[in-house]
Symmetry: C2
């Protein structure tokens, strides 16, 4: 019997993750199978509190404030999936927002879990953005488990700080930390946002819905992605792995899909046809190109292989998945 | 004209650093020479407020509380040397103390400096303890600039988090960050403390004062140290280096003295004679040995060489320095 709590549960990944673990289902946690007794869903905005799987309980509010006001809600959980986060674009635009929403709320959550009499499992959604290339410290062609993280945005910095914090609480035996670094998740539904990576979803999403989209980078630019299904499966697997299999509390890079932007456009043409692909324009934006080019394009993770993470699906399958949601809607 | 502020100014290194920059002296900061107009010394305990160099102004109190109560005191500084810290032993014994005194106070200080209209220089005293060896992730024989930091104590974790935080503020152009990682500073005056490294000073300090001291590790164990003079000179040099010379905001390992514990004992015998060395006993303590052996024993830093940090003195000179303070006192 387990009480599971998800932060950011109203979000794109959070809601999909929640759907996989309704009350009464069996979820593998730290190497053992547990019956889900309570499923607590937390978000700063809850758009539809009757959404979510059967038996879910919703709590709406700022994460740091909720932890302060209702610590028992969090510290009584057996497993917490911490996905809540201000986005990379928001954190870059507003320093204080990122510090409060990501860093300080995460520290408050970690302290609260560390105060529990049992040892809660914490699955933390970290990010590829902990890595970044600079002229004086260029990233290697392939980022691996030993690559020194040098985040080039506040979002990645805050996530990295939390990885270090949770690893320390885990080392002390207070929690069991599982920091999993997701790649850029594509295809995302919804509207374009201010993130430099926004076009990676828009270039598939908009044409499939009959709208134009611009690709602001050279077609040869290589990126590394996760499909939405791959991200959810990865988070589930991070929670499922036993201490022995996971090893130390250091973060793990989730295996991703390395693909060029040109290959992404080609996949769109295969799935949607030439008319759909004709909605793409290719007007370069050097600022966006510089940012995206500073991210890793290829990630190898021996640790992930040893922990048994599955490979993500080919990118064309992620395009098909998204196309199916349109046709189904 | 510059206003300089030192946190932890009542401490062993802080007081020595303060002594090198009295009001009216010239200090090199970020590549330019500046006349010290104000010297503000901050510590949570001020044992002797008339100590410190001419013209120094003392402020006593918890750092986080002082930043909250008197933000202008900090944000008006041109250069801040941030040395205040709970010790490794304290942080390991008391999780909340370390989080509050190190992590959250440092975040508050960084936010305060980032709010200044100018761009303050922040020299942050980081530590070798950001590195640590574990059975599954052993450190390389020589730690270099690309070694992935995996702290194995809360103190090192909190310092590493602040390095990442200050680097991000620096990347955003809000402050100029200089994180300098000090090695274990030896010989420290005063009393033994709870730190696992305490014996490294005690095995020199106590015998030179006619007292017994135990060395709890094998004589072959190698450690990397800084002399007190080397640590102060390093902090000064970190503040002096220009942006161009320093490069990106990532932390730099201060060149240290690699020496075996047996060689340290031999240096003691040379300086103090056989009678002094006879005050040493060699009763092993496996717990202490395991901790100390998990730290780097040798550190190479190409970056430090490029920035022009001087090599530290031979260990025997640090022993002579300490012996001179006894004979002079």
């Amino acid at each position: 019997m387990a009480k599971i709590l998800i932060t950011g549960a109203n979000g794109f990944i959070g809601s999909r993750l929640a759907a996989t673990m309704p009350v009464g289902s069996t979820v593998r946690l730290n190497g053992g199978d547990e019956l889900v007794e309570r499923l607590v869903l937390v978000d700063h905005v809850v758009t539809n509190s009757v959404a979510g799987p059967d038996g879910a309980e919703w709590f709406e509010g700022d994460l740091g404030a909720l932890v302060a006001a209702q610590p028992d809600l969090f510290s009584s959980a057996d497993a917490v999936f911490h996905l809540a986060s201000a986005t990379s674009g928001e954190c870059e635009a507003e320093l204080d927002l990122g510090i409060n929403a990501n860093l300080l709320s995460g520290v408050a959550l970690g302290r609260c879990l560390a105060s529990a009499a049992h040892r809660p499992l914490l699955v933390f959604s970290s990010t590829l953005a902990i890595y970044g290339s600079t002229p004086e410290a260029p990233l290697p062609t392939v980022v691996d488990d030993s690559t020194y993280p040098t985040p080039q945005n506040s979002y990645g910095s805050q996530k990295l700080m939390l990885e270090v914090f949770f690893a320390d609480l885990s080392r002390r035996g207070l929690i069991t930390a599982r920091s999993l670094r997701l790649m850029t998740v594509t295809v995302r539904p919804g509207q374009p946002n201010g993130a430099a990576s926004s076009f990676l979803s828009a270039m598939i999403r908009e044409p499939l819905q009959g709208e134009n989209a611009n690709v602001p980078v050279n077609p040869d630019l290589k990126v590394v992605l996760n499909s939405p299904d791959g991200a959810v499966a990865g988070l589930r697997h991070a929670g499922a792995a036993s201490d022995d299999v996971w090893g130390g509390p250091r973060g793990v890079n989730l295996p991703g899909i390395s693909v060029t932007v040109g290959e992404m456009a080609a996949a769109l043409a295969v799935v949607g046809g030439a008319d759909v692909a004709a909605h793409l324009s290719w007007e370069r934006d050097e600022t966006i190109e510089r940012i995206v080019a500073s991210w890793p394009a290829e990630v190898a993770s021996e640790r992930a292989a040893g922990i048994g993470f599955a490979d993500d699906k080919p990118f064309i399958d992620a395009v098909c998945d998204f196309a199916a949601t349109i046709n189904g809607g």
